[in-house]
């Protein structure tokens, strides 16, 4: 049984990294957070009930560790501390500008919204899974994803004095959608903003 537990920890490490990076927005801090969370999990392994959702249990441990550390430090993440390595090195110039905008906008989101959006989009977690991780209602998890996405869209596509950068995001969005139409994807589930939910209520963004 303990072998299975340790194997599950090793297998989930990349997903923990995504969550840690979404929460801390700092690579070094994310690595520390993952390691601390793993230590906590190893110490508490007798409290894990085999057969229950290990992923949710592990993600919750990481999240609680993040909140606990935050309370101790009483700091907020400064986007200027965001390592440049988070940005795509090989991106074209206009793509890079848009990515910088996205990176800065993500930093402005509340932690719980950013975490829900990133886990939902990158890991394909359902609203139910997001709710289990953060200890909230499914409706709350859905609301966090919806608000995060809507806020990002407002910041990144609104007509403001930074219109040139916004325009680059709009243009890239249009080009991306055009390209996606020519490359059919088996997955076409969009975020459900008030539309009828599919059976599993997956928070998967339309596209790839």
């Amino acid at each position: 049984m303990s072998d299975t537990f340790h194997d599950q920890i090793v297998n989930i490490l990349p997903k923990l990294r995504v969550q840690a990076l979404a929460l801390t927005r700092n690579r070094a801090m994310a690595e520390d957070l993952v390691q601390d969370a793993v230590c906590n999990a190893l110490s508490a392994q007798t409290s894990f009930i085999p057969g229950t959702n290990f992923g949710a249990w592990m993600h919750r441990i990481l999240r609680n560790r993040f909140i606990s550390d935050l309370r101790k430090k009483r700091e907020t993440t400064d986007i200027d501390d965001t390592p440049q390595s988070l940005l795509a090195v090989g991106a074209r110039h206009d793509d890079r500008l848009a990515l910088q905008e996205l990176d800065a906008a993500l930093a402005r989101l509340p932690d719980d919204q950013r975490e829900a959006l990133v886990l939902g989009v990158l890991e394909g977690m359902s609203y139910q899974e997001l709710a289990e991780i953060s200890g909230c209602a499914v409706g709350t998890a859905k609301s966090r994803v919806f608000r995060a996405r809507r806020q990002l869209e407002t910041w990144l596509t609104a007509d403001t004095p930074s219109a040139s950068r916004r325009e680059s995001v709009k243009n890239i969005s249009r080009k991306t959608l055009s390209h996606e139409k020519n490359c059919p994807s088996p997955v076409r589930n969009g975020l459900n903003h008030g539309t009828v939910e599919q059976n599993r209520s997956r928070a998967v963004v339309a596209g790839v």
Partner: protein, 55 residues
């Protein structure tokens, strides 16, 4: 039959879809390189040592 622009709701939906596609791609570009790096040896060793202790 004259060509008319798509209704506002359709244009908005297309815009939302375009943004969703772009957002997903952008998040992957921001996160993938870091996430796909090898796990620190220290962390893997920590897990392995605990596994050995349990046996």
């Amino acid at each position: 039959m004259t060509d008319t622009p798509p209704p506002r709701k359709t244009r908005k939906k297309q815009g939302d879809q375009a943004f969703d596609v772009w957002l997903k791609r952008g998040l992957h570009q921001l996160f993938d390189d870091v996430v796909n790096e090898p796990m620190p040896e220290e962390l893997l060793r920590l897990i392995q040592e605990d596994r050995a202790k349990q046996d």
